[in-house]
């Protein structure tokens, strides 16, 4: 007898790498949005691994846009539903490249026109589908194929773009950051978002074992460390209410996170101490700014 048949709307057989954080994000999102949902995804790993020719992994209506315009396509879907008097959750699930970089304009327009859409960015912190190029979501000092660490470089020289703040500046109804390592947190936030009318933005931290360089079994462990060091603050802001932050009992030193990933391995060298310190400073600032410590 089946005692716990959970709603699973991502079929097995998809072609994500073993241990893919983005695939975990999809399963947790779909569990709470349910069947009455239309999803739009920009080009990226999720789009690629769920939709090889004739073999979709989606159990809900799903549409692939281009890399740059998932928010524009979803706006059209929502407008069409409205015109026809039909109801469905319209959800965007796009990568950090498709959100922080090339999709920023379309997303801004969607927010400004106040479409009733939940925009979810799965943030694996680089362009993974095309072979790990840096994006504006890539953390400071990470090595990627287009920000390679070497004799004259310590990796990416720029800081991560604060997209939740940009979403907030659009006066959207709800903004949250979350992580696949905290499924209840993630599912609560997604559930809350789809229940609110108007534009919503959720950013999900989704470790990528291939692009970051760690063992496939460590995906969740890496997500936890990102939050526990303060590097990735988890919070939510409902319009008109005070920000709610997920507290951490004892924050961990950033080295614990960096040491476990090839993309930061070059920082272990002596002459890179200053860079390490800078990363620790980013964490300390987050802890202070968001009040992360318990």
């Amino acid at each position: 007898m089946v005692t716990t048949e959970k709603l699973n709307l991502l079929a097995p057989g998809h072609r994500a790498c073993p241990g893919c954080g983005a695939a975990i994000a999809l399963r947790q999102i779909l569990r709470v949005v349910g069947r009455e949902t239309i999803v739009v995804s920009a080009t990226g790993c999720v789009e690629t691994f769920t939709s090889p020719y004739g073999q979709s992994a989606w159990e809900v209506p799903w549409m692939h846009s281009l890399f740059e315009n998932s928010a524009a396509v979803a706006s059209g879907v929502e407008a069409a539903l409205e015109a026809k008097g039909e109801k469905a959750n319209v959800v965007i699930i796009s990568g950090d490249g498709g959100t922080f970089d090339i999709g920023m304009g379309a997303m801004s327009g969607m927010f400004e026109r106040k479409h009733n859409i939940t925009y979810i960015c799965y943030d694996n912190e680089a362009y993974m589908n095309t072979g790990v190029q840096r994006s504006s979501a890539t953390p400071y000092a990470a090595t990627t194929t287009t920000s390679p660490a070497g004799k004259n470089s310590y990796g990416k020289m720029e800081f991560k773009k604060d997209v939740p703040a940009i979403a907030l500046a659009h006066d959207v109804e709800y903004v949250a950051t979350t992580s696949i390592a905290y499924p209840q947190d993630l599912m609560n936030k997604v559930k809350k978002a789809i229940g609110i009318k108007g534009p919503k933005y959720i950013q999900i931290h989704t470790p990528c074992c291939i692009g970051w360089g760690f063992d496939s079994s460590q995906t969740i462990a890496m997500g936890k460390l990102a939050a526990e060091t303060g590097l990735v603050p988890l919070f939510e802001v409902e319009k008109g209410k005070q920000m709610v932050v997920r507290k951490i009992k004892n924050t961990k030193p950033i080295q614990e996170y960096l040491n476990k990933q090839n993309r930061f391995r070059h920082l272990a060298k002596e002459d890179k101490e200053k860079i390490m310190e800078k990363l620790q400073e980013i964490c300390n600032d987050n802890v202070k700014r968001f009040g992360i410590s318990e």
Partner: protein, 83 residues
């Protein structure tokens, strides 16, 4: 099948048995209480909880090892796959 406008039937990825990708396979031991934590973390929709026990679908499990790593009871062991 694909139609005009590239409309595809849902869930057809099931045709692609990703179990053949595996180097290691998860083995469930008697310590499993069926809490369902592994099911929430499996990227490949390869775990179901039946009668308070975790059941792996080896047709699709890719052997990533996340379930074994996250199990609070250490009830899952990763064993080398012999093909």
């Amino acid at each position: 099948m694909l139609t005009i406008g590239a409309v595809c039937e849902a869930g057809k990825s099931r045709l692609n048995k990703t179990g053949s990708w595996r180097d290691y396979y998860p083995e469930i031991t008697a310590k499993c209480t069926g809490c369902g934590i592994c099911e929430l973390f499996c990227p490949d929709s390869s775990i179901t909880i039946i009668d308070k026990k975790c059941i792996i679908n080896y047709d699709y499990c890719k052997g990533c090892g996340i379930c074994a790593n996250e199990c609070p009871k250490t009830a899952i062991l990763m064993k080398e796959e012999r093909k």
